[in-house]
């Protein structure tokens, strides 16, 4: 039974991937990609990665899909012009051949994988109690491979600076996106009033539960950011000015606190990002609490895009 389900999921996944790649209409392609992202979450569940499935559904399918849908709306006029530039049959044949060669090489690698498979799980489990968290993924993210997570937080901030730097000069320091105006008694404004309290509770629960169960700050931050986007789109609140000191402080506080804890480790544990005995859980919690506002702000502002109005004041 499960094999049948798996086969159906794989078939659907490949079909959707092909569809998004060859569909003539960009909107259909992006819509296909959103469904593809949701299907991918199922794949992660089958691959025993509940944390990954949550991240994929929230960020891979949800946020990326919304971002691309927003872009499609603004790119409508340019689609026909580039269609005239589409590759000829020769290029398509060569591209198809190249893709087949790459796929074949990967398949060969998969079939020649070593047995038994190399794994770090036996190393993670005995050391997990020392971190004070029970979810091995959280343990890896914030203790064993904390440096990766630190660099990731910095990459997010750099990406946001990158997005902001595409602003026209006159809009620098201003607010991103359009000022949404909707019917204050309409269904969107209603949803934007009813959903956020629920979303905020779920977001904070995921954040807290992430220590011992699937979940964590990324999935939590995505839900909180989505609630903020909803409030913005319903016209209940405007996007923040990017020269707002509170916004900018919130963006850097996570990486700064992370680096501070890391430097503290130099003295107390003798190594950068080391945690002294018995202090792992409080320090991990400090990092997570400091990272949460950073992640919410960065994810929402990446969705908002570069500032476009109300420049330097």
């Amino acid at each position: 039974m499960t094999t049948v389900v798996t086969l159906v999921v794989v078939a659907l996944l490949l079909w959707l991937a092909l569809w998004t790649v060859v569909a003539r209409d960009a909107f259909l392609a992006v819509a296909g990609f959103v469904v593809y992202g949701l299907l991918l979450s199922l794949v992660w569940v089958r691959l025993a990665g509940i944390d990954v499935a949550l991240t994929e559904a929230a960020i891979g399918g949800g946020l990326t899909g919304a971002l691309l849908l927003g872009a499609v709306g603004r790119l409508r006029g340019t689609e026909a012009a580039t269609w005239a530039e589409r590759s000829g049959p020769g290029t398509r044949a060569v591209a198809g051949l190249l893709s087949l060669v790459v796929t074949a090489a990967l398949v060969l690698c998969v079939l020649l994988l070593p047995e038994p498979a190399p794994t770090l799980a036996p190393l993670v489990l005995p050391n997990l109690p020392a971190t004070g968290v029970a979810n091995p993924i959280t343990g890896v993210l914030l203790a064993f491979r904390a440096l990766d997570t630190l660099l990731e937080a910095i990459v997010l901030v750099i990406a946001l600076i990158g997005v902001w730097s595409f602003a026209p000069d006159r809009a620098w320091g201003g607010r991103p996106g359009p000022r949404y105006r909707t019917d204050p008694n309409g269904i969107l404004a209603y949803l934007a009033r009813v959903l956020p309290p629920v979303g905020i509770v779920i977001g904070i629960y995921l954040f807290w539960a992430g220590a011992d169960h699937p979940g964590g700050k990324f999935q939590s931050a995505t839900i909180l950011a989505a609630m903020w986007m909803l409030v913005q789109m319903a016209g209940l609140a405007d996007a923040p000015r990017i020269d707002n000191r509170w916004v900018r402080s919130g963006i850097v506080i996570g990486p700064l606190a992370f680096v501070a804890v890391g430097v503290l480790g130099l003295w107390t544990a003798g190594v950068f990002l080391g945690y002294p005995d018995g202090w792992a859980k409080p320090l991990i919690l400090t990092i997570e609490v400091a990272l949460l506002p950073t992640l919410v702000l960065v994810l929402a502002l990446l969705m908002n895009g570069p500032p476009s109005r109300g420049g330097a004041r």
Partner: protein, 108 residues
């Protein structure tokens, strides 16, 4: 065939499909979607390797899984930068063309 091998093979196909779209589709947004498909293929392959590493009572190796979470977030950040770049390109040039010269319109 185990679940992880099946998904690993599907992932190989996803990389190929994404690569094809990346080359063939002329519109930058379509290239971006295709690139994301290709990236997700790499992620699924890595996830299948994590599942193969199930040991010590864990259903999968948590180290690659944690790196996957990082990878998905970074991929989103890169996509956001690319979308912003693309929208700016259209604001400035009124065209999404990546061709060296704008097409004359009567190309074969």
């Amino acid at each position: 065939m185990t679940v992880e091998t099946l998904f690993a093979l599907a992932a190989c196909a996803l990389v190929g499909i994404g690569l094809y779209g990346l080359i063939v589709q002329p519109h930058p947004l379509r290239k971006l979607v295709a690139f994301n498909i290709m990236g997700s293929g790499v992620f699924v392959l890595f996830g299948a390797l994590a599942k193969r590493g199930a040991a010590a009572g864990l259903a999968a190796d948590p180290v690659p899984q944690a790196l996957l979470i990082t990878a998905i977030v970074v991929a989103f950040a890169a996509t956001a930068v690319t979308v912003a770049l693309l929208l700016r390109l259209i604001d400035v040039s009124d065209s999404a063309s990546l061709a060296e010269e704008p097409p004359a319109g009567e190309r074969p």
